[in-house]
Symmetry: C2
Subunit: 324 residues, 2 copies
């Protein structure tokens, strides 16, 4: 469950006084923040505590995460010169990646037999932040650049693919058992734009970890129309948000692709019988898939009651062992 | 083109010093703001200058539109008592609606043979604002209430349907030639939730104008999966945003439903040849529909160059008369 930490009092205590990106780059702290929800909820895997803009910070982009806002980029990227400026920052070397690799290694050691999943943003979502300068509703400036100057767009996405792919590879090399690519904003795209202007870069990003032999998961929201395309960039597992029933997602994917997610975060605030019925429905609809990574369809809302998450995990485990 | 005004210098001059909702409720000003983009761009119809929360303000809900934020509701609605408090405000009487009716009548008189389209929010989008207390990304609180307390949810949506339907009816009775229902946030819903928990209220809202014999248009974004359901609440025309090619939307609708929209607002900022090719593609894909209300797939971004909008309108007219 991504972003499960922020609903925990122990998370808020450990993070107090430390900026988000500084937390991600403090190996001991990032490891502790990764472990907290695993300890608390007894989930079957952890996901490394990070942010999609971490590789931007590591390569020297002036970015910070403003509380209540999100990532803010000091100098938005909109021209060929802007992309050249990014390239001038040089590659994401092992030296720059050291805090991430160290954080992952510490976490893997502490987790023992529990697997850890690596975390990186997809090129489109990274580019959307870089072009907009921060979060936006419709990613208009990014989508404009995509059409207005396809060469600059492709250059930017290629750069982003290599930076984020290198970031993901460092995590896998440091010991993660799987790698997840987050395309949080892909749902703003038509299938045609996704396939022509985004998918090649996402394939390039995933290409950075292909030889390492770990499974890859491709996450998006509002991407009911993009599931097949998101798999076909080379992902082993495709994320499905609450908008599409899991059996329909499995059908669209041809019945041969494992799926992830689908539990509606909004239901975490409903009375338990309502949430329980929803979780059981998701599990039943996912039973026909060749694999279902049970998860929320989106991140954990900060105001979630942690005990509810623990109860959901227990329910899923009970159903798995045949209690149902 | 909805929200075309805000890109115009004459709009900013006319609105200067007047709060958004006050502008909507000043008949002469609302009329002038409606007419400005019609005059400037030579479009084939106007859409009445308003906001979806206008009927809430008219009925006595404490709501304002904060610049750069959107509608903010002083007392969010989350319980049966909260809904009872809304009902205690009484119905949206003709007296309360007088400024709207007067604004429409002035506009219709000024427009002459150019038709005017009435404007109202759909119950779900209104309820999302009422429950959240303002704009939100995923409408979590609204979607929680929908499942956590279906009776309160249904009561709230029924109330919203009657208020917004009455608001729409007043505009039609004052002379609009069509009526458009805006469900801006419906794209956050699964089809199952839309059909079970939202569609009946949208049908009820549209029911308020059914006997008046005008065409109804049902607008949404991110609603590629909901088009048929949005038609089946009783709409004559269904809006399609930039995410789905218009020929595919027409196919999903069975080939018998007129469509609206589909021009990508992001392309308004691209070089003219790119935008022109996009508009021509949209027109070609819409040619197989039993009607296409040519329009953007979403509102006009405030930073749009008005001359570009004028040029798009001219292009559409040229193609219509066979120049292509």
């Amino acid at each position: 469950m991504r972003q499960a930490g922020r609903s925990l009092p122990e998370y808020r205590a450990a993070r107090a006084g430390t900026a988000m990106l500084d937390s991600c780059l403090d190996p001991a702290l990032a490891s502790e923040l990764t472990l907290q929800p695993v300890r608390r909820h007894g989930v079957d895997a952890g996901i490394f505590f990070s942010d999609i803009v971490v590789p931007l910070r590591l390569v020297g982009v002036d970015v910070e995460i403003k509380p209540g806002v999100g990532p803010v980029i000091a100098d938005p990227v909109r021209t060929a010169d802007d992309v050249a400026r990014l390239r001038d920052l040089g590659p994401l070397t092992a030296e720059r990646l050291a805090p991430v690799a160290e954080g992952v290694a510490l976490t893997v050691a502490a987790l023992g037999t529990t697997p850890l999943i690596g975390f990186a943003g997809a090129p489109f979502t990274l580019a959307a932040y870089l072009v907009e300068g921060g979060p936006s509703r419709d990613h208009l400036a990014a989508r404009t650049l995509m059409h207005a100057d396809p060469a600059v767009w492709d250059d930017l996405l290629t750069w982003a693919a290599d930076v984020t792919g290198t970031f993901l590879r460092a995590q896998v090399e440091a010991g993660t058992s799987a790698a997840q690519l987050f395309d949080s904003w892909a749902g703003s795209l038509s299938l045609a734009d996704y396939e022509a202007r985004v998918a090649p870069a996402s394939a390039r990003a995933l290409g950075h970890v292909r030889d390492l032999g770990v499974r890859t998961v491709h996450f998006g929201t509002g991407t009911s129309e993009l599931l097949v395309a998101m798999r076909d960039v080379g992902a082993d597992v495709v994320g499905v948000d609450h908008r599409l029933p899991l059996d329909e997602a499995v059908r669209r994917l041809g019945g041969t692709t494992p799926v992830q997610g689908n539990i509606d975060p909004a239901l975490l605030f409903a009375p338990w019988p309502v949430l329980e019925a929803h979780v059981r429905d998701v599990l039943a609809r996912g039973a026909g898939a060749p694999g279902h990574v049970v998860n929320l369809g989106h991140g954990v809302p900060p105001e979630t009651d942690p005990d509810v998450l623990t109860r959901v995990v227990r329910l899923v485990h009970d159903v798995e062992v045949g209690e149902a």
